[in-house]
């Protein structure tokens, strides 16, 4: 049943673009306006209108003008609520979408940033099977975090996002489809187990002690620390002196990860293995370099380096 509906919807979107407003992906920012906001009564709205009808017929039958006036008032208020619902969506901006990091098969976190001039309440967001609701203040920004399921590595286009609201009375449902022309990069899934990289283990050059340039942490002052390493600003907030502690001397060998070493495997297995090695190197805080058919990444370490390597792996053909 569900499949049938899905197929019908797909067919309708292709055959009847005017009816279903099949929209092509569009670039951000997207502003909602009257030509893309739709509004229909909810089931409760239909039931309520039947109730109003019954009340009106009753009032007319008993020629009771006070009851008729009340019914008219309620009816007019309900219709006005339709306009309020429309205004909740009208003029809303989706300014940008930020994506987090995730490996294939794990949900990726999306951050939708909405902007508005006037205050709005109770706007709901549906993205695949995740949903949330948000309110936004006048001249304000709302950050909405959504979860998107991923299946394969590489660029994954964002699905259509539905913004909808039944504000204020739940009688009408106004909605609009957003189809941002944006993709998220999904990292490859590392293989679960395998051999460690062939390391030039006895290469003494990589065993030398080494003071990194990157700031790692702050620690308490110990006698003999060079004066220029004291973090004066941070120390002002504490009782004792703090010293900038730079990267600890390198004690592990550097890894040179190379696509060409894995000649006997197919492409996806190679990528999975490299992804695992990169992950292990990151976990062990090793310095590593990566050679790929489309790029060569020099040896380094840290989260940025890791993200860069994973991005390059994800984008491999």
């Amino acid at each position: 049943m569900h499949d049938l509906l899905q197929r019908l919807q797909t067919w309708a979107e292709h055959r009847l673009p005017a009816l279903t407003r099949y929209r092509r992906p569009e670039t951000l920012p997207i502003e909602l306006h009257r030509r893309r906001i739709y509004i229909v009564p909810t089931m409760f709205g239909l039931g309520f209108s039947i109730l109003l009808l019954v009340m009106m017929v009753g009032a007319l039958n008993y020629s009771n003008n006070a009851a008729l006036l009340l019914t008219c008032l309620l009816g007019a208020a309900s219709s006005t609520s339709m306009l309020v619902g429309f205004r909740t969506l009208d003029g809303l901006h989706l300014s940008h979408i930020r994506a987090g990091h995730a490996v294939a098969g794990q949900p990726i976190e999306l951050t939708l940033v909405f902007e508005t001039v006037r205050a709005r309440s109770s706007i709901r967001v549906d993205l695949d099977d995740a949903f949330t609701a948000f309110a936004i203040e006048a001249d304000g920004t709302a950050t909405v975090k959504m979860i998107l399921a991923t299946t394969y590595r590489g660029w994954q286009p964002l699905p259509r996002i539905r913004l909808w609201t039944t504000w204020p009375l739940g009688l009408f449902r106004a909605w609009s489809w957003l189809y941002p022309d944006q993709s998220v990069l999904v990292w490859p899934r590392p293989e679960s187990a395998g051999p460690p990289p062939r390391a030039p283990a006895d290469d003494a050059r990589h065993m030398r002690l080494y003071r990194g340039d990157e700031l790692a942490a702050l620690r308490d002052y110990r006698a003999g620390d060079p004066q220029r390493h004291i973090a004066w600003k941070a120390s002002a907030h504490h009782d004792n002196l703090l010293v900038k502690d730079f990267e600890q001397p390198q004690s592990r060998p550097q890894w040179q990860l190379d696509w060409r070493q894995l000649r006997s495997m197919d492409n996806e297995s190679r990528i999975a293995r490299l992804a695992r090695w990169v992950g292990e190197a990151q976990a062990q805080r090793r310095s590593y370099s990566l050679w790929l058919p489309n790029s060569e990444i020099a040896a380094s370490s840290g989260p940025l380096h890791y993200a860069h390597c994973m991005n390059m792996l994800a984008q491999l053909p």
Partner: protein, 660 residues
Amino acid sequence: MTFWARRKKPVEPAIDNRVFDLLSITVTLVLLVHAPHLLWWLSIALALTLGWRWWQRRRHTGRVPAWLKIPLLALLTLAVVVSYGNIFGREPGTALAVGLLILKLLETETARDVRVGVGFACFALMSALLIDQGLVATVVVALGLLPALATLRALEPAQVPMSLPRTLLPGLVLLAAAIPMALLAFLLVPRLSEPLWGAPTPDEARIGLSDSMSPGNFTDLLIDDSPAMRVTFDGVPPPPDQRYFRAYVMWNYDGHSWRRALVRHDEMQVPAPIEAGTTINYSVSLVPTHQRVLPALDVPLSVPAEARMQPDHEILADKPVNDPLNYTLRSALGYRLQPDLDDRARRLGLQRPIGFNPRTLTLATQWRQRFGNNDAAIVQAALSLFHDGGFRYTLAPAPLGRDAVDDFLFSTHEGFCEHYSSAFTLLMRDAGIPARVVTGYQGGYWNKFGNYLLVRNSDAHAWSEVWLAGRGWIRVDPTGAVRPERVSLGASAAAGDQLSWYRTDWLQGMRNRWDIVNRWWAQGVIGFDSLRQRGLLTPFGVRDVDTATLGVLLAIGSVLFIAIGLGWALLRKQPRDGLRTALRELERKLARAGIVRRSSEGPQHYLSRAARALPNQRDELATLMKSYLELRYANNIPAPEPLRTFQRAAREFRVTSVVK
């Protein structure tokens, strides 16, 4: 603000306490507006159930179990059936609806339940108006919509939190915005000329004039302050002692009560002939009486539509008056009614039950012997007896026995209009003068602000008419002989110290003034029937608006309102550019002095040109230009304080010299 996504849940989550509180308030209001006409013990039982459920849900959320719900439902149905006899009809129907609404609250846990409950509550609120459609009741019921709307709003997710009283405000704004459209629909929704199903019948007899009178049964009426009718006169209203509104004429006396004459269809259908003196035109708005009689100022000459005049000048409508009714009449203030009495009327006007009130008969026979043929002298003798015989006006007289008139005349000596008119009429009949009892209203309160006469149920009165040869039927008010204030001031004033606490003077004055609003409501809103609706466009030259035209008008009006509404909905608040507005103002002032900004000209060039043209104000203009450029181009958003300075400078700028 950051909002986190949730996974869809298959079951609907339970509502939070705020929603439940608001729904409880709604239901409480429904119970309150219905309480005046529900049986008191049912109201109390329902209120207790409501309170218990609220307290129970405070402690832990969850539905009330079925083993408790089903017996309660059975109990409610049983209670309604036992106390009202059935479950159909207005009164038992509303009682059942209110009860079911409160039982619905017992199982309200999800948003869907709440929506059903709110819809039901709206219906129950409306049904309260079927029983009382006064102004106050309508306003209270309309205010009852506020918590209902607030409940629906509270169901929506992700809102800016606010206090409980504040949540009612948006509903008020919404209702206020809906008023114009509601009024249009109210005016133009075609009224039914005939009800679709059974015309409503009152479930209990209302207090009002009745078509029979036995001394003592006015007591309830005389303490009922609710309006009976409102009368507007064309021209000067009649003086207070002429404000007698005739309703029923009673001929038949059985020793206990007076009744109307049974009308035979073959004869007595022609109103008795009348020679009218001064006449007066007036219109009456009658509060529903559920009877056929239409009170008219003594003595009516014309008949409103769908009504007939009886031989004794009673006016009976074709159908009982179940809805507020307006009618226009002409009456004679000076008249000679039925100068020639026919045999049947004479026979009716003289009949008395045999074997009752022997002492009255003896007294009347003595008078006849003493005064001979002088009927007027006998009337005078009876009035003198009431005036000087130690009679007392009271609304709480001693009870009377089998010979009621004898007891009243010779032993108790106390009573009110019914006693006096009854005794007087019987005395006249026993003396051989045709006489009858007339009931209706006398007096009323003249509302200066609204120029109308307000007649209350407490103005109900009974008097007599005697037939004198050559003069016809003459109105004699024996109560006036005992208590002249009854005629000039009204029943409550005559009752003296028997006033209730709530009928003190100032309160009565307030109530009289407040009545003008009620009259406006009764005439403008409640009385707006299909007839008035058809005459709606008379000022525009259309005499009779039919249903199709009303439909078209309604459609046009709705489209108009939709257009206005859409205009509002599409209105976008543009971020105001204060700097630009200020510059515009400056440009306007300079343009008046002849320095018009060209379309290709930037602000710097334009203001420099202006400074050259106005050498006296060169410095001022140069400063303005510099600050404008600074504000416009230094930052994305102009700094607020310099912006204000610039705006003030632009506002205060005056061109002082002549342009060269």
